[in-house]
């Protein structure tokens, strides 16, 4: 805590994580009905979310972070793995679709506040509906009204906005309504998928601050999905870095970004625009990192007595002080052959053989 003026993490009181994901995998079939091809969107993802903890899941688009959130929210059925909520495997409990009890525990906030609120209804409708469906109206109309007002003030809006329509609100205000709607069911876990990326820059921080406040006041655990490393560092206690459907590195936010161990994380960190290090872009270093992501020839942790490095198994190495819970997947482990995100595709063209260079004139 010495490093910051604000409270970072309220330590979980209970040892069981609020949400635990074990070995989650998801494959999307490709081609026609009889095709056996598939795309591997997630593979062996382990992630836990302590009580009152904010974990950020970062990675470029296409790395599988939204698929993970959709699997946890039960909008997508994972191919393999377990999702434990308070220690109970929800995939076994509600086999076919999410139960209402599950929805009361896990809520989602989506990226687009313009698309997630029906323009035909007043703000009050969205919140009242959540309360009614989950039986939190409190019995009397007076009590319902009080709860509605409490919800709207919790997210920093005025009670008279209950009578507004979505189009009368700014993007930031709409996202606050979406958060209030999630709060109405008093969830334990909120999954926030890029909640600020469609908002004006100057109000983004306000929404992040609101999320932190909800964690501090109500102890809600959050999975914050973003591609913005700086905001992940600002909000989250821990960061998990995702590449090609797998988590390659995880650790306490400040430590992970100060000492990124995996070449992919280093690639991401080096790409964040930062006026403090303008002109530090180095194409050669960048090409090396790319190369290392796909096929590293040496492991920085070689000789680690606890774990043998392997290119077949995804061995995890501990980075630095165990207190930072910082681990990295062994660089030698080769990503799935079909992997290769946008970050790797940016490679400048290599000089091709002449036959190909000739343009038919």
């Amino acid at each position: 805590m010495s490093h910051s003026a604000m409270p970072t993490s309220t330590r979980p009181t209970d040892d069981t994580p609020a949400l635990e994901i074990r070995g989650l995998g998801k494959q999307f079939p490709l081609g026609g009905l009889f095709s056996r091809e598939s795309v591997r969107a997630l593979h062996g993802v382990d992630l836990s979310l302590g009580r009152g903890e904010i974990v950020a899941l970062v990675g470029e688009s296409g790395s599988g972070k939204s698929t993970l959130a959709r699997c946890v929210a039960r909008l997508e059925r994972p191919t393999t793995g377990e999702i434990l909520l308070d220690g109970v495997d929800v995939l076994k409990r509600d086999r076919f679709q999410a139960s209402r009890a599950f929805r009361a525990q896990v809520q989602m906030v989506f990226q687009d506040p313009f698309g997630s609120l029906n323009p035909a209804h007043r703000i009050e409708h969205f919140l009242r509906r959540s309360l009614t469906i989950h039986g939190k109206t409190g019995g009397s109309e007076k009590e319902t009204q009080r709860r509605l007002e409490e919800l709207i003030t919790t997210v920093g809006l005025q009670p008279d906005m209950l009578n507004s329509y979505p189009h009368e609100l700014s993007g930031g205000q709409r996202q606050r309504v979406a958060i209030a709607r999630a709060l109405a069911v008093e969830p334990e876990v909120i999954l926030a998928d890029e909640p600020t990326s469609m908002l004006d820059v100057s109000v983004r921080i306000g929404v992040l601050n609101l999320m932190r406040k909800l964690r501090d006041d109500k102890g809600i655990s959050m999975l914050y999905i973003t591609h913005d490393l700086a905001s992940a560092r600002y909000l989250a206690d821990r960061i998990a870095v995702m590449f090609a459907g797998e988590i390659v590195e995880q650790g306490e936010s400040l430590d992970l970004l100060a000492n990124p161990a995996h070449p992919y994380t280093q690639l991401l960190v080096s790409a964040v625009p930062d006026p403090a290090r303008a002109g530090s872009y180095d194409p050669v270093r960048r090409a090396e990192l790319r190369q290392a992501v796909m096929a590293s020839t040496s492991c920085a942790f070689e000789g680690d007595p606890n774990q043998a490095c392997s290119s077949e198994e995804s061995v995890r190495h501990q980075v630095g002080d165990p207190e930072n819970r910082h681990w990295v997947r062994c660089h030698l482990y080769r990503p799935w052959a079909g992997a290769g995100g946008h970050a790797l595709a940016g490679e400048p063209a290599l000089p091709a053989d002449d036959s190909e260079m000739k343009v038919s004139a």
Partner: protein
């Protein structure tokens, strides 16, 4: 960077915008999207315009290109490019002015490529239309152009969907510099791209700029990116410029409360975690006054008189 900085101010400005006012005229009321905006861009200079959606920065870019359509109307002011009055150009003059003198890369321009034509056909089209080269000559130059942005010339035969987003964006940038314009307008050139690709595109633009020496008008809402790339920048709010100075100076010493809020909206990647406030919901600046010079080359719109925009109000509202 050093090349362009030495030429800073030593030449006639390439572009001079003076008191530009653009209105969107409606049946019952009209809105002023750009309000008495003035700035100039020197030869080889990268000038950034920062601000949020709706502040009028894209309207300015479209005014310079004379692309405004009804109901938008230029209600006042002047735009001069290399001594010529852009607002007085005839259709024929405009045709030559666009792309040859000033080229523009639009937001998500990578989606503006024609999906049924190959990249090669689209680039050669520029040369045959504007420069009148033969087909063979055009193809040869198109190949060189792709090489300039580090795309293999064999890609001339590819269709847009066969290229990644970053490659398409680079192809569009190559097309923009095809006729060696003296001003390149970049309107949020990297918003739709991932960070790693974004940085490479920006590095590419900087490299091209050093090589070809054009000036750049760079429009974005990402302050970190802008400070990194631009020499000088202006911050816009509600159609007005509230602050303009050297980019590094705005970064280290922002004066206007709105600029301070914008700078504060980007958490740093290093150092301790400190609480930031950004701009509170509902804070509005009204009646923004003309810029005054507070330090040499650093202009700020005075904000002290208006009670609704004092820093105290900003902080209070942020709670």
């Amino acid at each position: 960077m050093t090349v362009s900085q030495t030429s800073l101010g030593s030449h006639e400005p390439v572009l001079e915008v003076k008191d530009l006012t653009v209105k969107y005229i409606g049946d019952t009321r009209s809105t002023t999207a750009v309000d008495r905006v003035s700035f100039s861009i020197g030869a080889g200079e990268i000038f950034g315009l920062a601000g949020e959606s709706g502040c009028g920065k894209s309207t300015i870019a479209n005014s310079i290109m004379r692309l405004l359509k009804d109901p938008a109307k230029i209600a006042g002011g002047s735009i001069r490019f290399g001594g010529k009055d852009v607002l007085a150009m005839s259709t024929e003059e405009l045709r030559r002015f666009r792309w040859q003198d000033v080229a523009m890369v639009f937001q998500s321009a990578m989606n503006s490529l024609n999906p049924v034509l190959t990249i090669g056909e689209q680039i050669t089209d520029i040369y045959s239309t504007h420069a009148g080269y033969s087909r063979k000559e055009s193809l040869h130059r198109a190949g060189q152009l792709l090489e300039l942005v580090r795309i293999n010339p064999s890609r001339l035969k590819s269709y847009p969907h066969q290229l990644s987003g970053g490659m398409r964006q680079r192809a569009v940038i190559a097309m923009a510099v095809a006729l060696k314009p003296s001003l390149l307008i970049l309107d949020e050139p990297t918003t739709a791209l991932d960070v790693v690709v974004q940085q490479e595109i920006m590095a590419q633009i900087k490299e091209l700029q050093r090589e070809l020496g054009f000036s750049v008008l760079f429009i974005t809402h990402d302050m970190s990116l802008m400070v990194e790339l631009s020499h000088r920048m202006g911050v816009m709010y509600g159609g007005r410029i509230v602050e303009t100075a050297k980019a590094s100076e705005i970064h280290t010493n922002p004066q206007h409360p709105y600029t301070q809020a914008l700078m504060g909206a980007f958490p740093p990647l290093t150092g301790p975690r400190v609480p930031l406030t950004g701009l509170a919901e509902g804070v509005k600046f009204r009646n923004i006054l003309d810029l005054t010079e507070v330090f040499p080359g650093h202009f700020v719109a005075p904000s002290g008189d208006s009670p609704e925009i004092t820093p105290a109000v900003l902080e209070g509202a942020a709670q």
